[in-house]
Symmetry: C2
Subunit: 354 residues, 2 copies
Amino acid sequence: MGPDKIPIEAPSDREAHLKRATRNFVTSEDVARLAGVSRSAVSRTFTPGASVSADVRHRVQEAAKTLGYRVNRLARSLISDQSNLVGVVGANLSLPFMARQLDELSRALLRRGMQCLLLNAAEAEQGITPLIESILEFRVRAIVVMSGSPPSSIIDECVANGVRVILVNRQADDAEADTIISDDLGGARIAAERLLRAGCRCIGVVGSGARTPTQIRRRVAFADSIRDAGLEPIVWASGETTYETGIEAAKGLLASHDLDGVFCVTDLLGLGFLDGAREAGRRIPEDLSVVGFDDIPQSAWASYRLTTVRQSMNDLTGSVLSAIEREMHGKGTALAHEILPVELVERATVRPAT
Amino acid sequence: MGPDKIPIEAPSDREAHLKRATRNFVTSEDVARLAGVSRSAVSRTFTPGASVSADVRHRVQEAAKTLGYRVNRLARSLISDQSNLVGVVGANLSLPFMARQLDELSRALLRRGMQCLLLNAAEAEQGITPLIESILEFRVRAIVVMSGSPPSSIIDECVANGVRVILVNRQADDAEADTIISDDLGGARIAAERLLRAGCRCIGVVGSGARTPTQIRRRVAFADSIRDAGLEPIVWASGETTYETGIEAAKGLLASHDLDGVFCVTDLLGLGFLDGAREAGRRIPEDLSVVGFDDIPQSAWASYRLTTVRQSMNDLTGSVLSAIEREMHGKGTALAHEILPVELVERATVRPAT
DNA sequence: ATCAGATTTGCACACGTGTGCAATGCTTGC
DNA sequence: GCAAGCATTGCACACGTGTGCAAATCTGAT
């Protein structure tokens, strides 16, 4: 402001002062100056496989340590156009299954030298499109969606920009996204078979009011299996996907029906159902057999010992990671459409097979 | 690159081809060309409060939509030196308390327009210093540490670079970090008083083998309170901080001592202890009273109904956020040292006061 | 029609880094 | 001693964006 009559040094001085005031990060230029080399040498020192003499490398590292230099990844990504960021979209992070999923994923990403940009979709009233857009602004390497259902338009935009979209237990029919889902249909069938083998004749299925593909697949597949056996299942499907809903389902269902077998599409619902059923005076598994889905840690606790269908967490994160690491080859890149196997974990909430 | 004899168009052609090959992101230059304006106009259109005519703004927005333009935050942060990233360090993300903490924090950050860079400290054998260093490379606005104990040297480096470090339920005595901890001492005292009021005379305290400040504070403060009442507490302190350790503690402790009151420094330990105690034939709360700490969701479940000391999650994330948003003023910036109040949640695992 | 003032626009530089290219220095073999 | 070859180094440009400054355009009042 008014640089007209100020002596030459002033602006640079002013600049220097400004720098001290707002900009405190050490740059490679600072390091270069202290080490008495060019900026290129500094850059090369921190670039694996670049050509630097041992002497220079040493001096640079020394100077860097003295000054506390950290390479600016923003600038580096800007030029190499390859940030090692991975965007992760998830909601209900405190629910045991989601929490474990995120724990494993974030750990695996770090192990592979990637960073995890976490976006909580809990308050995304207008869908997760805005979230994905904001992730895109970071030029991420890939986006993992564990919650919500992205419209295929935004997925196409990601793909057009060379960003893989990986849907975990989600579905987007004709979009160019990798999808990795556990075998809901198979799992539901296994649960039905187990209950039938236990001799159950009056069977219910408990879901929440959520209309997620996972919920629907499990519910429908189970109901179909029961009908195949000539029985008509009693369905509960309202409320949130929580422990409390499980309790309500038990109270509601058991008041009007004398069920002897129930499949809860989620362990959390299952645990609530167990508590609700006990409160209603049912003995488990003598009066009533219960099967869950997911195998969250709490299902193994002594007060529950819930028989359930397990999703292999290892397989899941493994598949996600290999999808991320697969290279993109333009639009027609091969997409993964994996369906991961599940297995029944026998505990104590289902009568032995007759 | 030999611009001497090559016709003018050639380089730009070659460049264009290169762009198509490796670089698929749309830039502001592309938008400007399509809209028939300068690149500055594009930049200003996406900068709130900048001076652009309605006409230009409209044309730019139209072009941006057609091309699918997203501003490159890396480049933006590079110049403004203000990324809205916040680094979060945490381990054991699947443990209920940590999961809830992360859920709330990530949600709050997003609501304030900040992004969450999540680093899982689970596999940080050599401490979390390397993690913090790598966060620093992203020029984050602040770092929230929920796990591990950063040496003060790295904290000082963060502060020197204008990056706030916020320790949640952690401690770093003389370092320049904001620390936000819940009132472990007060909570432990409340737990002790409650057990004493219930008439307990043979009292135990259960912790894990972890040497975290939180664990130690709670254990010591509780033991001191018990001793003040003229009793000598029985201490258990080994294993990981899990449900299973709680069971083992119950089996180990109850085999040799006839306890009538126990304080578990973590709800997870407490729930395990309850199941272990029941298995050992103790009736709760008739024979044995149990108090936990944290108030995780599972503590309210019907099979447990654990009386516990609650940390207010709202207060916690609120304090973290206000610390992040407080401006940095060089080295001598005022630091927060908050101790958040706790409260006893009465459920069903402690005998009524006599 | 003219001119002052306000608004809009484009130029050019800055941010911190990676890297091709040419120049420099060093080694080696004769 | 000299030339050839090779490792090392510095220069300069590129990445995509924000913004001060001056030029250009528009507005409105005389």
